[in-house]
Amino acid sequence: MNRELEILRILENNSRISAKEIAEMLNMSVEEVEETIKRLEDEGVILKYKTLINWEKAGVEEVYAIIDVRVNLTREKGYDDIAKRIAKFPEVHAVRLVSGDYDFQVVVKGRSLKDISFFIAEKISTIPEVRDTVTHFLLRTYKEEGELLFKDEEDRRLAIVP
């Protein structure tokens, strides 16, 4: 299997793992692993090392909303232009162009429902190309970034089996 991809898969799941540990798992030298990671960073394949935090557990109240945005395209303003304009707001967590009834799926983070509602009313809906929006407030997350946020099954195997 491609070693670059193997390294990426391991890092995607645990960005704090050491080059030494990766080297042991993939039968490579530590130097090879470090060089490969450095190159992947330089090439922009690895964008950033982040942490997946359960903020609810940390006692931080945050409100997320998923907003469906429908836009009118013009000769002057295409999808990219509109998306960039929306993406630059720090309140905006994610912007995705999607297929279906709406054009963009925008995830907005705020301190309260009111906060988010005003942000949308003032900053998103007022963009001239935005035709309409539908706001879904996020109530609970069950899975994030491929990780289950609830307690999964336990290991029920016997201690010794053939």
């Binding site: 299997m1 193997e6 898969r9 391991i10 540990e21 042991e24 798992m25 993939l26 039968n27 099954e153 290991d155 195997r157 016997l158 201690a159 010794i160 089996v161 053939p162």
Partner: protein, 389 residues
């Protein structure tokens, strides 16, 4: 039932071969572990993954639909077709007519042996060996001959043809091997095939770990010239697809042997559990990604684990499965002593190699079917233990 010391019959209550059968060495070691807390067990010969969810979901749905009846003795037709098609992957062209769905490979071993062996005929079992072959061959009435394969755990042409005059009916083959992880490349299999032709015997080829091959692609011995007519392939879903408790496997065999096996299967088992068969079908249709994910994870663990073990012991590189079989004799301890003390002093469970045959006695079997985190902890503890000796 009440346990009783007295015998209700005036003659022996048990069959003579059952009386002579030794209890499993693994079982005895299991008793030592019961009641101990915080044991990291490298004694588990099954995946640490649960059955992939999409397979479980398919089984649940089949139960909701009320699919709970017997299937044909052979197993579900769609599953047999899927299995025949799937085995092209390992070089074998076959038809659903040559496929029998069994209740795990365990049943397959039993009925394959019983279907072909006559009293007085010999079954050859290379050691170290999976624990079931010798007892089941013995119960089938065979004379069992063990062939030691230490120190590299590889069977050769010369090892086999020595038994030319021993009325050999069956050679049991298991690759990748439990407990050593050793497997065979095509060229090595050709040598074994030549020997099987020379001995004029059947090969029962247990390929349950075939999917878990890391150094080279698994090839079935049945795919080699002339072997199709004398090979019983046994395989199943327990290891590659992490479906151990579902008990579903299969045999691919030439028609006369398969017919014989079917006769026993239809009277003793009737059919494999239907829910498990439906799960198996889903595994073959849509399980490839999960399989790849698990295989990649095992391979990482193997590389890490063998490297660390080699700092302490001689270890033959396992080509597949999820076992390493280090030679611990350099510690001055036997495999049993090593395993017992490691358990008592460091709470790490491994299985003494003697459970897998005489020639495994200076070894222990370590299964790396545990999370990377636990594996790391276990090998650190092993290292502490070895340094304390």
């Amino acid at each position: 039932m009440r346990r009783t010391g007295g015998l209700p019959l005036s003659r022996d209550i048990l069959n003579i071969r059952v009386r002579e059968l030794k209890p499993s060495g693994i079982r005895r070691f299991f008793e030592l572990i019961i009641g101990r807390d915080d044991v990291i067990s490298l004694g588990v010969g099954e995946p640490d993954f649960a059955v992939p969810w999409r397979i479980r979901e398919e089984m649940i749905y089949s139960l909701e639909k009320g699919i709970t009846s017997y299937t044909s003795n052979f197993g579900l037709l769609e599953l047999r077709e899927a299995i025949a098609d799937y085995y092209k992957k390992f070089g074998v062209e076959t038809s659903y007519e040559n496929v029998l769905v069994t209740t795990g490979v365990s049943e397959g071993i039993d009925i394959a042996l019983r279907a072909v062996v006559n009293p007085g005929e010999t079954v050859l079992v290379p050691e170290p060996t999976y624990v079931s072959y010798q007892p089941l061959a013995f119960l089938s009435g065979a004379d069992v001959i063990s062939i030691p394969t230490c120190p590299d755990f590889k069977l050769t042409f010369e090892d086999l043809v020595k038994y030319r005059d021993r009325n050999v009916k069956v050679l049991m083959l298991n690759y990748p091997n439990n407990p050593t992880g050793v497997s065979y490349r095509k060229k090595e299999l050709e040598e074994i095939a030549d020997a099987a032709v020379e001995l004029d015997c059947i090969v029962i080829s247990d390929e349950i770990y075939g999917e878990l091959s890391y150094n080279f692609r698994h090839v079935s011995i049945a795919s080699l010239n002339g072997m199709e007519d004398r090979t019983v392939i046994l395989n199943g879903f327990s290891k590659g697809f992490a479906m151990t408790g579902m008990r579903v496997g299969y045999a691919i065999a030439p028609e006369p042997i398969l017919d014989g096996m079917l006769k026993i299967h239809q009277y003793s088992m009737l059919c494999a559990p239907v829910t498990a068969q439906i799960g198996a079908l889903e595994a073959l249709r849509n399980g490839e990604d999960e399989l790849e994910r698990m295989r990649a994870e095992y391979m990482r663990r193997r590389n890490f684990f063998v490297k660390r073990l080699r700092e302490m012991f001689d270890v033959v590189m396992p080509d597949g499965a999820f076992y390493a079989f280090p030679d611990v004799s350099s510690t001055g301890l036997s495999g049993e002593e090593f395993a017992e003390r490691l358990l008592m002093e460091k709470n790490v469970a491994v299985v003494p190699g003697s459970a897998f045959g005489e020639c495994g006695s200076g070894h222990v079997r370590c299964a790396y079917a545990v999370s990377m985190e636990k594996l790391r902890e276990a090998v650190d503890r092993m290292s502490d233990f070895v340094n304390s000796l």
